[in-house]
């Protein structure tokens, strides 16, 4: 499933990285610890987190993640959005909490 389809189904906001909306999503990873994501997330996953600072883009880019979703209506920092645009790596947002959003994404991807 493409990032764009997930945005539509889960009603996500796009903060940046529009060029990457065609990326294929292979799964998801939910964590607020950057080293945990560095160590355990896999290429092509959507990362669900409440972190908003620009280091999340560095981690997502280094790990070749498909996109980041910032939860609970948080708005990413300006530098984060800028880096998302620079790298074409979608930076998304949701008003849901991480638990709910992870459940919804899991349901979508397991089909």
């Amino acid at each position: 499933m493409k990032v764009s389809a997930i945005i539509e189904k889960l009603n996500l906001t796009v903060f940046g990285g529009h060029q990457g909306l065609d990326r294929e999503v292979e799964g998801g990873y939910t964590s607020d610890l950057l080293s945990d994501v560095m160590g355990h997330a896999d290429e092509g996953q959507i990362w669900i987190t409440l972190q908003t600072h620009r280091n999340i883009m560095a981690v997502a880019s280094l790990k070749d993640l498909a996109a980041i979703v910032v939860v609970k209506g948080f708005v990413p920092d300006e530098g984060t959005i800028q880096q998302s645009n620079d790298e074409g790596l979608p930076l998304l947002g949701s008003n849901s909490e991480a638990f709910e959003l992870s459940g919804q994404l899991y349901e979508l991807l397991k089909k």
């Binding site: 560095m38 160590g39 280091n55 560095a58 280094l62």
Partner: protein, 138 residues
């Protein structure tokens, strides 16, 4: 091929620049993506450690056909007990660094798992030297 990156303590905005540069280069050299991933994880953790704990540091990268050799040298407080620092979950990071989602005590363990050779030496009050070697073909 030799490269050098400077890292500024406390400046999280550019943390990851060295890792990103090395990743691009290894891709150009057609290194196996799985090997690149391991190198990048280990290097990023090393880079963040300098930003989070030291005053400044230099990353030396040396690549030949066989292996990548990375030396991360910092001027900083040093590590009094390296075995303890290698323990999963142990961290001396500040509250601010932890709030950002760093400082979970996973950095050095991640480096150990993702490098073929990891050597850490440190002088308290002076700084730390981390050496990473990863072989480019399996």
């Amino acid at each position: 091929m030799e490269l050098k990156y400077e890292v500024e303590g406390g400046n999280f905005t550019i943390a990851g620049n060295a890792s990103s540069g090395v990743k691009k280069l290894l891709k150009q050299l057609n290194v196996d993506p799985k090997v690149i991933k391991r190198i990048v994880v280990a290097l990023y953790e090393g880079e963040v450690n300098v930003v989070a704990h030291a005053y400044k540091g230099i990353i030396y990268v040396d690549i030949n056909a066989e292996r990548i050799h990375i030396v991360i040298e910092d001027e900083g407080p040093g590590i009094p007990d390296i075995d303890l620092a290698m323990t999963v979950g142990y961290s001396t990071a500040s509250a601010k660094v932890r709030e950002m989602g760093f400082g979970a005590g996973m950095g050095l363990p991640n480096m150990k798992r993702n490098a073929d050779v990891l050597k850490v030496s440190s002088a308290v009050g002076k700084g730390t030297v981390v050496e990473l070697i990863t072989y480019l073909s399996n």
